[in-house]
């Protein structure tokens, strides 16, 4: 947790019944929570439901927030619970198996010995990069929920590994391993796509 939680004054004002303070907290976090929700649920209505539940629960439970973690960590925990509830309530889509993701830690399987030459230069092309964003979005979508949450919180929201571990209730070591696997998986998907589309 940071030495000073910049949200603490607004949290205290919200506890005192200041609705404008909670509105400001929402303004700070609505894009972040929505991004996590849409990244996890892949559905706008589900994402909106999860964001609404998150802020309503945060408002109702604000007195239970003891300040032992940053407000943001507490809020992300509530958000993930809301998102997981949403995911559980609907038919699941196929995701990568954990076994396949564990196998990705084998460098032979990700062709460390023979990376295709010129791969990195091709990915700099602006038009191709847009196309690749679609490929990687599909790859992120196919990750198991927990891996997707770790990737989003770490890479998109810029949280530290320790913050991500605290939010997900995982050990730091487990968080780092899963993040590494997720990153390797995305690289592998990109590599396969580029090799498959090589001129």
């Amino acid at each position: 947790m940071p030495a000073v939680d910049l949200d603490a004054p607004l949290v205290n004002q919200t506890r005192g019944g200041d609705a404008a303070a909670f509105d400001e907290l929402m303004r700070r976090y609505e894009d972040k929570v929505y991004r996590l929700a849409i990244g996890m649920t892949k559905n706008r209505d589900d994402a909106l439901d999860a964001v609404q539940d998150t802020f309503l629960n945060a408002y109702r439970k604000i007195d239970t927030f003891k300040g032992e973690s940053a407000f943001s960590t507490w809020l992300y925990k509530i958000a993930l619970n809301s998102i997981y509830m949403k995911l559980r309530s609907r038919t699941r889509q196929r995701t990568e198996s954990l076994e396949d993701l564990e196998g990705i830690l084998d460098p032979e399987k990700v062709r460390i010995l023979m990376p295709s030459r010129g791969w990195s230069e091709r990915a700099d092309d602006a038009l191709l990069r847009k196309e690749l964003a679609g490929v990687l979005r599909a790859a992120v979508d196919s990750l198991p929920d927990e891996y997707r949450a770790i990737f989003a919180l770490r890479e998109v929201e810029g949280l530290s590994n320790q913050e991500v571990a605290d939010i997900l209730g995982l050990s730091l070591a487990a968080t780092k391993t899963r993040l590494h696997r997720a990153r390797l998986f995305l690289r592998q998907r990109l590599s396969r796509y580029l090799q498959g589309n090589a001129a």
Binding site: Q52, L105, I112, L113, W119, A123, E155, L190
Partner: protein
Amino acid sequence: MSHEHRREEPTCREVFDLLSEFVDGELAVPLRESLSRHLSACPPCEEFLKTFQIARSIGRESLMEEMPDELKARLRSFLRDQIRKG
């Protein structure tokens, strides 16, 4: 890997395993420096690092999305109603 490195230097396998901690700046200075030396001397690992970083960067871009204004308005309206109900 087929490249030879000094015995005290990390192997390609070790570089592969430590890549996330390397890019996150979480390695102790001596290990980070030895990985940097390895990457400078080993073109396949250097290329792997580049592509690893590109995948991270495009993956991040693919998830960048702001909440549409219309949904923000619906969120506020929903909360106002719920809070009024108590």
